[in-house]
């Protein structure tokens, strides 16, 4: 059992957890900036970027994928701004138009191109392929100290680990400017903070996290990781630091519990086949949000304790 767990479940759970954390961290600030939809936009928009990067390079290596998706995200942000300003269209509508159109374009492009040789198709783009990121060379927990086995870890693990580490370091480094510009943009400008650059940097970090998470949970379900853990965390506390820790905890819980429920849950209730891990991870994060909305200690903030003096 434990050998099988290390072989089949350990790496997908690790990858899922790291992807969830990498998305949840920028998600906290996106939600507080009322820009949660940007996470949605990004997760859709990265698809055409990845497909174009594949068509140009013929591989699905990490760097071209990240560059392609990053470029697509930048194009999307510029398009949204252009539509907003030129057409005087409501920002929400401008976003909706741009990300849906780009995602649809990505799907068409993907269908028309020959990606049979690589692990890139519409289903993978939508659902991810967490279950396939297994560690075949592992024979048990002892493999964690075996260099030969470690050399054959799925490459996606290293990729998401690097991205998650970068997101964590950037969040720590730019904590104060992020908090300040998110809370009070006008004041932040008067003390000389580069407000626009910080906002743009946040979106870029979210885009990189979305691309890296693409392998694990697929394009659509990334949105759940951006929104559900931070939104649930907001209902647990009135302090930003504590909120971010809760969001990391909820993201990890969703990934671990989601994977286990998807893999073993159907067997427990007598069914034969496992269900989509990515789908279950997103579902668990949604259930956590629902529970937080029903029972979270800070769920009824509006109008509470006004004028407590």
């Amino acid at each position: 059992m434990s050998a099988e767990f290390v072989q089949l479940s350990l790496t997908p759970i690790l990858i899922g957890t790291l992807a969830a954390i990498a998305c949840a961290l920028p998600g906290n600030f996106l939600i507080l900036r009322k820009q949660a939809l940007i996470g949605d936009a990004i997760s859709h928009v990265v698809l055409p970027g990845i497909v174009v990067a594949f068509l140009l390079t013929g591989t699905i290596a990490a760097v071209p994928m990240l560059i392609g998706a990053g470029a697509a995200a930048v194009v999307a942000v510029l398009l949204i701004e252009a539509i907003k300003r030129l057409g005087r269209i409501d920002p929400g509508a401008a976003m909706g138009v741009v990300f849906t159109a780009l995602f649809a374009g990505g799907v068409l492009l993907l269908e028309q191109s020959d990606t049979s040789g690589v692990h890139l198709d519409v289903e993978h783009a939508l659902m991810g392929s967490l279950e396939s990121l297994i560690w075949l060379d592992a024979t048990g927990w002892s493999s964690l100290t075996d260099p030969t086995a470690l050399a054959h870890l799925p490459p996606e693990l290293a990729r998401i680990a690097v991205v998650a580490a970068a997101v964590i370091v950037l969040t720590w480094l730019f904590w104060r400017p992020l908090e300040l510009t998110t809370f009070d943009e006008g004041f932040a400008r008067t003390i000389g903070l580069p407000v626009t650059a910080i906002g743009f940097g946040l979106v870029v970090v979210a885009a990189v996290a979305a691309v890296a998470a693409f392998d694990a949970v697929g394009s659509i379900i990334v949105i759940a990781m951006f929104i559900c853990p931070p939104a649930a965390a907001r209902l647990m506390t009135d302090r930003l630091t504590v909120q971010v820790w809760w969001s990391v905890a909820f993201a990890s819980l969703s990934a671990i519990l989601g994977y286990i429920l998807a893999g073993y849950g159907p067997l427990w209730i007598g069914l034969n086949d496992a269900v989509s891990a990515a789908g279950m991870v997103a579902t668990v994060s949604g259930v956590i949000l629902m529970l937080a909305a029903l029972f979270g200690p800070r769920r009824s903030r509006v109008g509470e304790g006004k004028g407590g003096a």
Partner: protein, 271 residues
């Protein structure tokens, strides 16, 4: 706030302000436009150092926009700004800006104390540790606005007046020489208004300069030394005694203010 002492202090300061030469903030040819209609058109302004100046005008006159454009919060089409005769970029540490209370989301997960600490950002930087002296400064500033007991409160639990005082405490923490306040008295209770004006007068007595967007014509002469009357264009500027007259007021507000209301202000009619 109508005590004789304060009135005398205000009178003295008005005399001093009249003799001051240095501008705390100088604005030249400021034009700002949202869409097609200009919000401000070629406005010049000199906010005197060591004085309390009110920016007055009807809704949509561009009062808040003048402050925001001068500070680079909204883009301007044209205009030069200097702060204590230096460019804004080198004078940032001498400025404290208090935005309109409604411009931020008070549901943000933070405490009163942490908001005041934001005023120390330029001292703390990205990763500087919050030391005992920083905490002490923040608590002192909260104490000056009568909010020391609320340091640990979540900001969403405060009344409007308390929120305004927290914003004022944050600006005090900045230790600036020029305080720019956008509607500091909008929607606050009488006690808060008295507390804020006391702090502002205290700042002026320390030689600091104060500029506030102000709505209540009835309190202008009591609170301020100088006025800037604005309605897209500048209408008048100068000491309250000479610039805040029934004539300039009706010019600023057009037909929106009945002459009977102006008469109630008890101002001298300049022929």
């Amino acid at each position: 706030m109508t005590t004789p002492e304060l009135r005398i202090a205000a009178d003295n300061a008005a005399k001093m302000a009249a003799s001051t030469q240095v501008s705390a903030m100088k604005i030249r040819g400021m034009t700002v436009s949202y869409g097609e209609k200009p919000a401000l058109f070629s406005v010049d302004a000199d906010f005197a150092s060591g004085a309390m100046t009110a920016i007055i005008g009807p809704n949509g006159a561009g009062k808040s926009t003048l402050l925001k454009a001068a500070l680079g919060i909204v883009p301007r089409l044209s205009g030069e700004v200097s702060v204590f005769d230096r460019p804004l970029s080198v004078s940032r540490d001498r400025i404290a800006y208090v935005p309109q209370r409604a411009s931020v989301d008070w549901d943000f997960p933070t405490r009163v104390f942490d908001v005041v600490l934001m005023g120390l950002y330029r001292q703390l930087g990205l990763l500087g540790r919050v030391k005992a002296r920083h905490r002490q400064t923040a608590l002192e500033c909260l104490d000056r606005v009568g909010m020391a007991d609320f340091a640990d409160r979540q900001i969403g639990q405060l009344s409007g007046g308390q929120q305004q005082r927290v914003f004022l405490a944050r600006s005090l923490a900045q230790g600036a020489d020029l305080y720019l306040l956008d509607e500091p008295f909008a929607g606050v209770d009488a006690a808060t208004e008295a507390a804020i004006i006391a702090v502002l007068k205290e700042l002026k007595n320390q030689g600091k300069s104060v500029v506030a967007v102000h709505h209540d014509l009835a309190t202008v002469t009591r609170y301020f030394d100088r006025v800037l009357l604005l309605n897209v264009n500048k209408v008048a500027e100068g000491p309250v005694a000479s610039a805040f007259t029934s004539e300039t007021i009706s010019q600023t507000y057009g037909g929106r203010l009945a002459s009977a209301q102006i008469d109630q202000l008890g101002l001298l009619v300049v022929p």
